[in-house]
Subunit: 248 residues, 2 copies
DNA sequence: CGCCGCAGCTGGTCTAGACCAGATGGGATG
DNA sequence: CATCCCATCTGGTCTAGACCAGCTGCGGCG
């Protein structure tokens, strides 16, 4: 494994019992991937099936796992290639930008939508506003070296940021803009889980469907205890990891 | 969706373009699952295939996604049933026990292995000991209401805890034991990512293979800056989420 | 009555082949 | 020479069926 943490607790195949063909094929393909460098082309599904003497669907099951684990990248019509290491995202209140810069890559954001909508009861509850109150919804694709890494949806009470739609440049940091309006971030609660991308999300991110994602839901508060924003961040599970520094 | 965060940014099917049959089937099955209560049996693969007029493999693709999302539970030979909500695990230096208790469930641990082994260079580097030095490896299954929720592997320098193998009860909290020896936890670094369970890990946890997991790798230090332990925790992605409280 | 074994459920793996759709390059045509 | 179209790569979806392996309940046998 290429992870800095080494392999599984006791890696690989169960001590006793039958091992599925797709898993043996996966092990073989991992060997290939390790020999080839990052970016090198992996043989096609049909060739691997012929080489191992198994059905193409069985090869696909092995490749699907390698895809989920972030060891290969696939794009319809193009050859499968060996993927590079994951990015590490610090778990702190700082913006996405810093984590990417720390990896020596160039962060970017692509605007998907900036719109106004009435708050549904769930959103209103999180932001402690009246249901139906105007809500700003900012959706952006997060880029690293121009490659989509995640999808970020921010919801803000429109009443608190009346000039945002005209003053804010969606290509820049929203946190910097909010701080510029005199609002201070005091604390935040972040929930983290694994989910699968929907077809729409997978499409926006240029990934296949059924790819596990890291879903981060954050609510930020100011020093007076008023909610500032709710952010739903969806990061590619095959390209992202998080790190937290914990005090005793 | 049953998540407390509501649905995807813009849920579901892409605005324009063809939708795969397996995704339409998934939507139908989600409707079924929502009508049935937690624990209720979902129709079998063969019956769903007949009902929707599609192949069984296509139904399996839909069910696989629902499994990864934690909406259903499956066990070989038994009927598929509707799953309950996920557990929330606080991101703090406290033990697994507290998070489970907070959910009103009963935590437990099942010993898999407690053994001594020489440190490989990677482990030695994390714990700042000599390669080949004796290492204690404690592997336990983490339970919630007797259901396996995760797999925890702890590595400790044997020289620092010479009495652990005789004094420590594997069914109790390791943190409590370590504190009892006079060692203080000062800080920890935790790395979080999504991975797939290996066949062995899936077997220990009673889940199918190819299920995305939350992998937490933690190194803890004492106030003198000496590493105390390295922990590799593997939590079922379909049953676990994490939460972090962040200061500004 | 109590136990055992098997029939018939369930999901898990695998096959061989079909067709669709994105990407690409080379050749025919203007 | 430039452009366009299509053959032919690639991966994505789907089928119908086979066989294997857990699990459960029921019927028969001791």
């Amino acid at each position: 494994m290429t992870s800095m943490w080494g392999g599984p607790v006791r890696s690989g195949v169960p001590a006793g019992g039958a091992v599925p063909k797709y898993y043996l094929a996966k092990i073989e393909i991992v060997g290939l991937v390790d020999e080839l460098g990052e970016g090198a082309a992996v043989p096609s599904e049909r060739e691997l099936a012929a080489r191992f003497g198994i059905a193409r669907e069985t090869v696909r099951q092995a490749l699907q796992e390698l895809l989920v684990e972030g060891r290969i990248r696939r794009r319809h019509g193009r050859a499968t290639v060996v993927a590079g290491p994951k990015i590490v995202q610090p778990l702190s209140i700082e913006s996405y930008t810093e984590g990417v810069r720390r990896q020596g890559r160039t962060p970017g954001r692509a605007l998907v939508a900036l719109e106004s909508q009435p708050a549904d009861p769930v959103q209103a509850g999180h932001l402690e506003i009246e249901p139906g109150a105007e809500l700003l919804h900012l959706e952006r694709i997060l880029l690293s070296d121009d490659e989509p890494m995640g999808l970020e949806s921010t919801f803000l009470p429109a009443a608190r940021f009346p000039l945002l739609r005209t003053d804010f440049d969606p290509g820049t940091s929203l946190y910097a803009y909010i701080r510029g309006t005199g609002v201070t971030f005091h604390r935040a609660t972040e929930h983290i889980e694994t989910v699968l991308a929907s077809p729409r999300e997978a499409d926006l991110l240029g990934t296949g469907p059924a790819l596990p994602m890291l879903l981060l839901n954050r609510v930020s508060w100011d020093p007076q205890g008023r909610p500032i924003e709710r952010v739903r961040s969806l990061f590619r599970g095959d390209r992202f990891s998080l790190v937290a520094e914990l005090g005793g």
